[in-house]
């Protein structure tokens, strides 16, 4: 057919960015963290990561085959969920905990609600919280790195001194993917560079959290305390890689601002006033379930319409 008279329906300009490309970019951005995690925690960390990744991908494949849907494991979304879940587990977790988490993430949080794009909360974090509630002792059994087996945040909460240089580099205890702030920031720069994420949600998240801990943390502007709170725990992993999940974050510009602020406030609340030292996972999944509500009230005014959807 002659190209000159070829007529097709819109859209005529398409982005080269596909779901698969996007997922692969995020996976690449997570590679520094993954590699550092395996280096820091040893081969056991690799076993945990493999168990979550394999179980996630397999669950997606089996479910989609069984339900006679198109099998979409090649787009990398299940792989990414598995990887993120693995990075959120301690390296001491037995393999079956990883498998259970992977199955729960894909089956219960993602596929039952309609698959990619329909999940109401981040599958990896949903599964992490499921495991955290079910196997509290396994999930908080962190290996000894350096002097102490306590995570920097737990030490901070107990009033002990922390080494902020080790926390920046990542030579501390914690889950596989959360320790190295530098490696996570390298990944964040990759994501920002390729415009996979924008700065609004993670930027406001971290900024709000910062303001919150300065006001309520009880240490004022003490730089050691602030650095430790920022680099400790899952804040960096959560803010850059999980709060920015397309499916579970608002698409409206105002909604993104509300969402980012809400994340910061909730994380601060849980960390400072909660009984546990960490609160990023719960902050993100609670904000996730508020997203439809946030979007409903922040729909931008369409061109030519007055406030409230009436035509002017």
């Amino acid at each position: 057919m002659n190209d000159m008279i070829h007529v097709s329906s819109s859209p005529h300009v398409r982005s080269r960015m596909t779901t698969g490309r996007l997922m692969h970019l995020v996976i690449i951005a997570l590679l520094p963290t993954t590699i550092f995690g395996i280096y820091n925690f040893g081969a056991k960390a690799a076993v945990v990561l493999l168990s979550t990744i394999i179980s996630s991908v397999l669950t997606e494949y089996i479910y989609q085959r069984a339900m006679k849907k198109t099998v979409t494991i090649s787009d990398g979304s299940a792989l990414l969920t598995g990887l993120l879940l693995g990075l959120n587990l301690p390296s001491t977790a037995p393999w079956w905990v990883g498998v259970l988490g992977g199955v729960f993430a894909i089956l219960v949080v993602k596929q039952v609600f309609g698959g990619l794009g329909q999940n109401f909360m981040n599958p990896a974090l949903g599964a992490r919280c499921f495991l955290l509630i079910s196997f509290t002792s396994i999930m908080t059994n962190f290996p000894q790195i350096g002097d102490s087996a306590a995570t920097p945040l737990a030490a901070l909460k107990a009033g002990e001194a922390v080494n902020t240089r080790d926390m920046l580099l990542g030579f501390t205890s914690g889950t596989i993917g959360e320790t190295s702030t530098i490696a996570l920031l390298v990944g964040a720069i990759i994501l920002l560079w390729f415009e996979v994420i924008d700065i609004v949600i993670p930027g406001l998240y971290i900024l709000t959290f910062l303001i919150f801990i300065v006001i309520f943390g009880g240490h004022g502007l003490d730089p050691t305390y602030i650095t430790a709170q920022l680099c400790g725990g899952g804040l960096m992993l959560g803010a850059w890689f999980m709060a920015t999940d397309y499916v579970t974050s608002p698409i409206t510009p105002k909604g993104r601002i509300i969402y980012g602020v809400m994340l910061g406030v909730l994380t601060g609340l849980f960390r400072i006033f909660g009984s546990s030292a960490e609160g990023v996972s719960y902050a993100i999944i609670i904000s996730n379930v508020f997203v439809p509500l946030i979007e409903k009230y922040t729909i931008p005014r369409a061109f030519g319409y007055r406030k409230g959807g009436k035509k002017s």
Partner: protein
């Protein structure tokens, strides 16, 4: 099926209060942490339901229509009080673990719902069977729910160790989220079973041997290759032949 057993079937399966009508969710979700608790809660509700249906059915001509709801509540509350004292007297441990949910039977929607929708309009006998059916449906659903939650969350059923010693309990199952997970799966399974299309068996169909059967109206049809009917018939044939052990090469 006479009208009495129809009432039982209705309560147990067709309009099961838990999995179909989704009534009384509060005790369903809150008390089913173990099979015994689920069974206890279900039986308490069953007793109150049967008695309240009978009493309300007896009084249905006396109760004025304008004040029927308060009247029903008075009847139900009296019965619940009796059950609560009996439980405290004879099963103190179970009464302790069910706690506030026994007095809360007063406001259980199943009981008021059956009083309003059925017992106040039907005869005593039918109302009693309606109460038994609904109560049993509720009891069985709660017991299954409790047993599944106890099995995964604690490794036991009714206190007896089922899972091997090495099993690590998934404690979320005995916590609140687990109740929602298990209930959702139970409702999904029940809906799947109930919505399965009933097999219509005509005398002509059952007379045919499936191996030689071919839909008669397909013979001259132009689209018989693409239409599902013919393909389905062939699949059935192939399956039967395979089962007889002489298929495969012919197809």
């Amino acid at each position: 099926m006479n009208k009495y057993s129809e009432r039982l079937y209705n309560g147990l399966i067709k309009e099961n209060p838990t999995t179909v009508m989704m009534l009384g969710m509060c005790p369903t979700l809150a008390t089913t942490t173990s099979a015994i608790n689920g069974l206890g809660m279900g039986l308490c509700t069953l007793v109150v339901l049967v008695l309240s249906n009978v009493v309300i059915s007896l009084l249905r001509k006396i109760i004025p229509d304008e004040v029927r709801i308060p009247a029903f509540i008075v009847v139900i509350a009296s019965l619940v009080t009796i059950v609560q004292f009996l439980m405290e007297g004879y099963f103190p441990a179970l009464s302790q673990s069910l706690g506030v949910y026994i007095p809360l039977i007063v406001v259980n929607c199943i009981i008021l719902g059956r009083a309003e929708a059925y017992a106040s309009k039907h005869s005593v006998g039918l109302s009693m069977f309606d109460g038994i059916g609904m109560g049993l449906g509720f009891t069985i659903a709660l017991t299954i729910l409790g047993a599944i939650r106890e099995l995964f969350g604690n490794g036991t059923i009714a206190g007896a160790q089922i899972m091997p010693k090495s099993y690590v309990p998934i404690s979320i199952f005995v916590l609140q989220p687990g109740a929602f997970f298990v209930l959702a799966i139970l409702i999904a399974v029940m809906t799947k079973i109930l919505s399965r299309p009933k097999k219509v068996k005509t005398s002509e169909e059952s007379a045919h041997d499936p191996a030689t059967c071919e839909p008669a109206d397909c013979a001259g049809c132009a689209s018989k290759g693409s239409c599902g009917k013919q393909i389905f018939a062939e699949t059935v044939k192939a399956g039967v032949k395979d089962a007889q052990g002489n298929g495969g090469d012919e197809a």
